[in-house]
Amino acid sequence: AQTVTQSQPEMSVQEAETVTLSCTYDTSESDYYLFWYKQPPSRQMILVIRQEAYKQQNATENRFSVNFQKAAKSFSLKISDSQLGDAAMYFCAYRSEVGAQKLVFGQGTRLTINP
């Protein structure tokens, strides 16, 4: 079974600075996607960024980018120019492309932005 580990329960960063959230995963599959979700206090799950395992190029979405190291099974999220609205829980998730495309989530990292 696949597992996802987020080793940083909490992180904090100064507004306008850059922060990196860590995620490692374990799988024997070669065909999968990785995701970062944001969960603000409203509880809504918001997709931040996704990465296909077959693509070597790291995904970027505006101020959000990932560092995907397939051999090391590492998938970190970098947030540049942090804003107060980025404060939330962030979850790393794995999705196999085989079968029902179920998501496996990490434990989450609570990100605090200091003004």
């Binding site: 509880r43 799950m45 296909e52 998730a93 492309e97 998501l103 496996v104 989530f105």
Partner: protein
């Protein structure tokens, strides 16, 4: 499109009571999922469905039942509620295709069992 809707938003149950959490999606998605999120934790899969009439267990199915009689609806039934079922429940749906398909989540139901 309303997306994925869940009712109720909040519920308090007594031990041993039963209830059904409702989930509806209007995007004609064939895949639907139920997750639970315990305090300070990530989401764990309870049950999922790949189409009407087809359901299967996820990681934490004990104490729950599901049915999928239509494409749109995927209710989650709690029988004999226990304090361990205190959690936030999320329903999600997606369209089965390779690649850039996204799971869309409902707003969640906060359930407390006392």
């Amino acid at each position: 499109n309303a997306g994925v809707t869940q009712t109720p938003k909040f519920r308090i149950l007594k031990i041993g009571q039963s209830m059904t959490l409702q989930c509806t999606q209007d995007m004609n998605h064939n895949y639907m999922y139920w997750y639970r999120q315990d305090p300070g934790m990530g989401l764990k899969l309870i049950y999922y469905s790949v189409g009407a009439g087809i359901t299967d267990k996820g990681e934490v199915p004990n104490g729950y039942n599901v049915s999928r009689s239509t494409t749109e609806d995927f209710p989650l039934r709690l029988e004999l509620a226990a304090p361990s079922q205190t959690s936030v429940y999320f329903c999600a749906s997606s369209y089965r295709q390779r690649g850039n398909n996204e799971q869309f989540f409902g707003p969640g139901t906060r359930l407390t069992v006392l």
